[in-house]
Symmetry: C2
Subunit: 275 residues, 2 copies
Amino acid sequence: MNVPQSDATTHFDAATAVARTETGDLVAELDGGWNVGPGILNGGYLLAVAARAAAVDSPHPHPVALSASYLRATGPGRVSLAVTRGPSGRTLAHSHVVLSDAGGPTLSVQATTATLGDTPPDYALAPPAIVPPEECLANHADIDLGGNPVPTVGLRDFVETRLDPTTAGWAVGRPSGEPVMRGWVRLTGGRPADPFALALFADVLPPTSWALGLMGWAPTVQLQVLVRALPAPGWCLVEARASEVAGGWLDEDYRIWDSTGRLVAQSRQLARTPR
Amino acid sequence: MNVPQSDATTHFDAATAVARTETGDLVAELDGGWNVGPGILNGGYLLAVAARAAAVDSPHPHPVALSASYLRATGPGRVSLAVTRGPSGRTLAHSHVVLSDAGGPTLSVQATTATLGDTPPDYALAPPAIVPPEECLANHADIDLGGNPVPTVGLRDFVETRLDPTTAGWAVGRPSGEPVMRGWVRLTGGRPADPFALALFADVLPPTSWALGLMGWAPTVQLQVLVRALPAPGWCLVEARASEVAGGWLDEDYRIWDSTGRLVAQSRQLARTPR
């Protein structure tokens, strides 16, 4: 599938939109295209939808802290979003969002919203050195898994990904042995990133376990995303790193910088290692 | 206050115990001693209590992922713990714990429990180099804030802390300017650490903003703790690092290694900067 330029500018907004029904409930129509395999929706996509629900009735527009437990896999189609509001003030507002499909809750999210400004940071970690997007590996085009089929990941139609060749040895049959992955990402069609897109980007790269030669899906158990600043337009630089792979468990630690080199988001997830 | 050796071996267990009332509710008696200032209980202590509640009815004994929203400050005394159980299986179990005092909810925690084993890691980040505990700065004894009173932190009576002198310039009036802090920690009296103690240790050091010269309490907004392995007895090495301080917000990223050098826990929190 190719995403036409004109539609794509609003595709992320449409795919993550929440609406209020006549009975006052919040609902969303999850788009099956945002998958990481047949019928399996991307965890960052689901988190972006939950973040939209948290923002609906908040006095603050920006999700700054999101912690999600992935209770079970979520498929495409209609879901409901039950929001329980917590304390709310001038600086921040808390809420708890439960996303449910016909079978019951699938995602439970603690959300904090706030109003991010344009204050320059007192301290901010600088981005790592990486070659520009045009010297990186494109979505599927440059990947060669030794004759094995490259997995079809619907997400890549909506998020352009350019992988740092120094961390993408696995893509050409030579896993680096270091669970680190870096790449440039942006929404296809050029829609600028915002805090909701950063929630998506916080789970957007392939599992770092691929760099250890452990190919396969690494289902997320719990994911925390912190949004630290409003991103400037353009490519975001994403670095993912595992600190430990043990006993069937894997962590993924993300840092995301915008096109100006400002650290705009961080995330950490606990996942199961591919079987 | 000095904690007598004989009592101290079980003080952590007593201070974090949860009990079931005749009506079936879970309750705890929060110990005002575990504070970071007058009437303000430590966030890691509160998280350890919530983790105990999550484990009570779980088929799995170990909290492996905890995400807590700190809704408002929690004082000492009786609290209730409402546990909503999520999906549960052979590998892990999800639950949601709400800790409430007489005024309503103060802490909302998503918990995942599992059964950690003794499998050697496939990959684990090595600890940083640091001098042994006896060459580090002791709790209050070695700290000199230029004649200003050293804040009374009850927590330090229960958790022995030895600060790496290379990251504790703030303690002798010379903040390093780098928001990094390292130290050795253990429960006073020698009780070995376990996953519940690691939840405590994940918020145990002074705010890294002190290394920037921003002295004062940095209230936690949201804290995620991942427990990766069962710790060996002895001192744990804790490293805290901020990646960004901006607009009144601060993150704290912890890694914790046990006495054998195994990475046993990670945490990240979003906090407000000291005023």
